[in-house]
Amino acid sequence: MRASNVLIPVLVVAIAVAAGVRVSAHRLDEFLQAARIDLRENGVSIDLALTPGADIADAIVATIDRNSNGVVTADEQDAYAQDVLSRLTATLDGARLPLRLRGVSFPTVDDIRQGNGTIRIQLDASHSALRNGQHQLFFSNGHHAGQSAYLANALVPASSRVSVIGQRRTVDQRELTIDYSVGMAQARFASGGLMVGLVAVVMMVRYTRRDGNRS
């Protein structure tokens, strides 16, 4: 294997990190946005955790607390969540997947200003049960682009019939593509020995049947 195959992703990531370097005690001047995506046979849930750094918190609070009374009302929470939602994109197998707001929780304005406030937004998308086989979910987060650090991860699906095949991201994790399959129950973190044994069982059954057909 050529060394460049290893070096290219390393250099790209190093440049991305260096571009944001400014020594600070905590993530003060960035908006940390973490998306955790739960895949099901008939839907997708996305949990967004948004934590503005203390240095940019005033600007974020200004967009949330629109009447500047120091309290984030239910209407203001909903308006902010809808604004975030409008900047997200999700597609399933290439078709747009409408996301629906399922829940919002806000810390106090003081906590946000201190850099200790995480806004949590839960989103859902329902779709008809997927046919057995491979599928692809694309997720893009365009909220507060330019001053944000992103994390995007698929959770291990709760159903053993759904399994993640692979994840591809942009270098900044603003976009995530998840390839996954629906169908035969998959063993997550299954014991290697158990898997070897099960494969052996299948092979033995096949061998027995083939042998039986010959006789």
Partner: protein
Amino acid sequence: MRVAAGASLVVFAMFVAVVATLPAQRAAAPSPSASTDATTRIVGAAQKVLSTLDDTRRAKVQFPFDGEQRTRWSNLPTGIFARDGVRLGDLTPPQRTAVMSLLETAFSASGYRKVTEIMRGDDMLLGGAGRGGPRGGGAARGGRGPAFGSDEYYLAFVGPPSVTTPWILQFGGHHLAVNMTFAGARATLAPTLTGAQPATYTIEGRTVRPLGQENDRAFALMASLSPEQQKQAIFPYAVSDLVLGPGQDGRTIQPEGLRVSALSAAQQTALMEIVREWAGIANDAYAAPRMAEIRANLPQTYFGWSGPTSPGSVIYFRIQGPTLVIEYAPQRDIDHIHTIYRDPTNDYGAAFARK
């Protein structure tokens, strides 16, 4: 006749499958006498702490096992995150000595050293060390700014210390959140957060790196990988923070990276020595069975890396297996590190409650 032979082979194959899972189950079992003795000593040390406290502080240090305190912890300093429990800075010298003696009993020698070095590091931060410095700004933000230093660490008992019923020894402050759950002879450290800023400091002429081994062992493992293995291990994207840090209880992310089964025996041993930097914080009586459990699960464990492979670089790495998640995440600077240690099956002793 052939059908009978085939059926026998099927039964044999199933037997192989079941037997193959046994080492993992056996490895998870603690050494009963050593861990029972350890729990007895730790509960004794906890009760000694309680005996030094007056009624007010005794009430402040104790919480119900099933209450909210169990999951209330953070990497953030006091002033930004309000902790409950007893604050070291509020204790008398004998009380403080009793607390540190409890930690020394509950942790291994290296674990106790790591914890105290993290606390001393925060003293350095209080004094202006660390290239970021103590960026408080509390007054400017309404007088509730961060407070640094070893006085700002808190002890709490979640559930009464007991040799039989479950309880949690919770100790934390800036860059430290130890949640050590005991259930009789068993104990788990998951979830525990360690961090450091400054990551390197000098005290009495000695250079101290509280999380230096984690860093150095990981770079050494990366250096030992073949280009093909490195290609599989390296994430082609930046990871700017912990994915499963505070507030992320109960989540399991899809594992990524290089499957540890692809590593040589020597590389697997090197990986286990990285793991020991977290699992080995606990008293050896609990760390030994935990290490055996993690080793038994190595075939289903993954090692992932983001960033350059040259030592001294800002990198992120993750080790994830069926009962383990470790993340090491410098905060854009090698002098400021956050890490997390979890067991998706046993955070806060959840598995102990099921057995």
